[in-house]
Amino acid sequence: MHLRPPSPQPLVLDGVRKRYGTGPFVLDGLSRTVAPGTALGLVGPNGSGKSTLLRLLSVLTHPTEGVIRYGELDIHASPRAYLQSVGIVHDAADLPGFLSAPELLEWIARERGIWTDASPSDHAALLDAVRLDERRVQPIGTYSSGMTRKTQIAAAFAAQPDVLLLDEPFRALDVEATEAAVTGLATFRDAGGTVLLSSHRADLMERIADATLELG
C-alpha cells in the first residue's frame, strides 16, 4: 500500500473523561500516550466506550474533561490541522453512493491537496491491495457491505495519514481481504504510522496491536 513518509507525532490522551449529558461517565480519567510506530487495540465489552473513544479521537464529540493532543496540537481546537494527518474508518459506512471507489479516492486526494500524476496508479494499487475487484468502477451505492468496507479502508489510506483510527474495520470482510487489511495495517505501523483500532477479532488484534487498552 502507498504510504506517505511519516512525520509522526505522539497521540496523547490527558485525563480524558466523557459522559453524555448528566449520565454516568463512559470514559473516566483516561491518560495514555500512543507513540508513532505503534498500534493500540481498544478492547472491552459492548458499551465499554470503545466507539466513544474513537469518536473523541475523530473529533466527532468533545471530552467532558481533559484534552487530547496530537503532538502539541489540541485536536478539538484545531480539528482540520489534526485531521490532515488522520485516516478514519468509521463503523457506519457513510460514503457517496454515486461515486465509484476510484472517484472517491481521487476526490479525497484532490481535496487534501495530495493529488499528483502518480495518484491514479497509487490508488489502483491501493484498491488492489484491499482486494476490491473490477466492480470498483461501479457506483459505491451498488457495492456489497464487504466491498463498501474495503472502500472505506482504502479511503483512509488514500488520505496518506500518519494516524489511522479504525472502528471494527474487519467487519464484513472476506478472509482474503481481512488478511490484506491486517498486512496493510502492520506495514503502516512498521513504517512509523500510529494505529488505534477496535475489533472483537482477538486473533487479528494480536497480530496488529503492540498493546491493548482495556475499557469498561
Binding site: 459522559r19 453524555y20 449529558g21 448528566t22 449520565g23 454516568p24 475523530s58 473529533v59 466527532l60 464529540t61 468533545h62 471530552p63 467532558t64 474533561e65 478539538h76 481546537a77 484545531s78 480539528p79 482540520r80 485531521l83 490532515q84 478514519i88 468509521h90 457506519a92 457513510d94 460514503l95 457517496p96 453512493g97 454515486f98 461515486l99 465509484s100 476510484p102 472517484e103 472517491l104 481521487e106 476526490w107 479525497i108 484532490r110 481535496e111 487534501r112 473490477e134 468502477v137 457506483p139 459505491i140 451505492g141 451498488t142 479511503a155 483512509a156 488520505a159
Partner: protein, 415 residues
C-alpha cells in the same frame, strides 16, 4: 475498462460530490420549485385585498425571524455528510460554504412571500428589495450564529460555563431548566435572532414609512456577517455538529421530560398498524417536539384571527400550519428514525403508508380545535369541516409522498 473522468471531475466542484443521482437532483429541483409555487399561490391568496403592503411585509418578516430562531438547528444540524467531509478534510472556508449552500435555498424561499406582495401591481421595487434584503440578513444571521454555537454549547454542557445559572438554580430549584444546560446557548440564540430580526423588520417598516433608505443598515449587516464568515470555522463546524448530533440522538443522558407514548395510547389505530404507528410516534416524539410546535403555531393562527387580520392571511396561516404539521412525517423516512432495510423487513409499503397517515392524524384534533377557534374569532373562508377535511387530505397526500420517496430509496439501496 476505460472510464470517462470528466463527469466525476465536474461533480467534484461540489464540496460533497456523488451523493445524488441526476434523477435525484431533478427531483430536488422539482420539490423546491413546488414549494416556491405553493408559497406564491398562498401569498397571492393571503395578500388579496391587503392595502398596506409594507405592513404585511414587516409582520411577515418578524414571523420569519421568530421561526428561524427556533427552526434553524433543526434544519441545519447535524450535517448529514459529516463523516464523509472528514475524509476530504476541506478547509474551514469550504466547510462554511458547504453548510451555507444547504441553507441559502431555504432563506430564499422565505423571501418569496415578500417578493410576491411587493410585486403586485403597481410594483413596489423599494419594498421588494428591502424586504428580501432583511429576510436574507436574518437568515444569514441565524445561520452564522447557529453554525458557530458548538463550543459554547459544549462549555455549558460540561460545566466550563454557566456556573452562575447553575448555582442560582441550585438555590432556587423552582426555576430549574427542562432542557440540558448545553442547550442554553441555543435558547439564547433563539431569542437573539428573534429580537435582531424584529429590529431589522421594524427598521424596514420605519424606513419605508419615512422614505429613509434601509440599505445602509443592510449593507452594514452583510459586511458584519462577511467579516464573521472569514473567521476560522473548522473547530466551530466539528464542535457544533458534534453537539447537535448528540442532542438529537437524545444521548444526553437526561431523564425524559415526559413518558414516551405507551402502546395503549394508540388505541384509535387499526390493530394491524398499531405497532408501526406506535414505534414511529415514540421515535418522532424524541426527534421533534411536534406537539409544542403545533401549539405555538395555533397560538399564532388564533392570534391573527383575534387581531382582525385579513381573512386571506388567516386562511394562509392555517393552511401553512396544516402543511407544516403533516410535512413533519418526512422525518420517518430518515435513516435515523427508520433504517431503510429495516422498513422493508417489517411490513409492506402499503402498510407504511397507512401507518404514516395515522401518524399525521394524531394531531388532527388539535388542528380542529384551532380551526374552530379561528372560524369563531375570525372570518377565514371555508367552514370548520372543510378545514378538518383539508388536514385529513394533506395527511394522506404527505404520507403517500413520503412513503413513495422512502420506498424508492429502499429499492435503490437493495437492488
Amino acid at each position: 475498462m476505460e472510464r470517462d473522468w470528466s463527469i466525476a471531475l465536474a461533480l467534484m466542484a461540489s464540496p460533497v460530490p456523488g451523493l445524488f443521482s441526476p434523477a435525484r437532483r431533478v427531483l430536488r429541483a422539482v420539490v423546491w420549485m413546488s414549494i416556491v409555487g405553493l408559497l406564491v399561490l398562498l401569498t397571492l391568496y393571503a395578500s388579496d385585498g391587503v392595502e398596506d403592503r409594507a405592513d404585511f411585509v414587516w409582520r411577515f418578516t418578524i414571523w420569519v425571524a421568530f421561526g428561524l430562531g427556533i427552526a434553524t438547528p433543526h434544519i441545519l444540524l447535524p450535517d448529514p455528510h459529516l463523516r464523509l467531509l472528514q475524509l476530504a478534510n476541506p478547509t474551514g472556508q469550504r466547510l462554511y460554504r458547504h453548510q451555507l449552500e444547504r441553507w441559502i435555498p431555504i432563506v430564499l424561499a422565505l423571501g418569496v412571500p415578500s417578493i410576491v406582495v411587493a410585486a403586485r401591481p403597481p410594483v413596489d421595487w423599494a419594498l421588494m428589495a428591502e424586504s428580501v434584503g432583511a429576510t436574507l440578513a436574518i437568515g444569514l444571521l441565524a445561520f452564522d450564529a447557529y453554525a458557530r454555537v458548538g463550543s459554547r454549547s459544549w462549555d455549558w454542557q460540561d460545566d466550563r460555563r454557566g456556573g452562575w445559572l447553575k448555582s442560582f438554580i441550585k438555590k432556587a430549584p423552582l426555576f430549574r431548566l427542562f432542557v440540558p444546560y448545553g442547550l442554553v446557548p441555543g435558547l439564547a440564540l433563539t431569542l437573539w435572532i428573534a429580537l435582531a430580526g424584529s429590529v431589522l423588520a421594524i427598521a424596514g417598516r420605519v424606513s419605508t414609512a419615512q422614505d429613509w433608505p434601509l440599505w445602509p443598515v443592510l449593507i452594514g449587516a452583510f459586511l458584519l456577517l462577511g467579516l464573521r464568515a472569514r473567521r476560522p470555522f473548522d473547530a466551530d463546524f466539528y464542535a457544533t455538529n458534534g453537539f447537535w448530533a448528540e442532542t438529537f440522538r437524545a444521548a444526553l443522558g437526561t431523564e425524559e421530560e415526559r413518558e414516551p407514548a405507551s402502546f395503549d395510547a394508540v388505541y384509535w389505530v387499526p390493530a394491524p398498524l398499531k405497532p408501526s404507528v406506535w414505534a414511529l410516534l415514540v421515535s418522532l416524539d424524541r426527534r421533534l417536539p411536534l406537539g409544542r410546535f403545533i401549539l405555538v403555531g395555533l397560538v399564532v393562527v388564533v392570534g391573527l384571527a383575534a387581531s382582525g387580520a385579513p381573512s386571506g392571511v388567516q386562511a394562509a396561516a392555517l393552511a401553512l400550519l396544516i402543511l407544516a404539521k403533516n410535512a413533519a412525517v418526512a422525518l420517518t423516512a430518515s435513516a435515523s428514525v427508520l433504517p431503510r432495510p429495516w422498513s422493508l423487513s417489517v411490513q409492506s409499503a402499503v402498510r407504511w403508508f397507512g401507518a404514516r397517515v395515522f401518524v399525521n392524524l394524531r394531531w388532527t384534533l388539535l388542528i380542529a380545535v384551532g380551526a374552530l377557534l379561528v372560524t369563531w374569532l375570525g372570518d377565514p373562508p371555508g367552514s370548520l369541516l372543510i378545514w378538518i377535511g383539508a388536514d385529513v387530505g394533506v395527511s394522506v397526500i404527505a404520507a403517500a409522498l413520503v412513503t413513495l420517496a422512502a420506498e424508492s430509496q429502499v429499492v435503490r439501496q437493495l437492488a
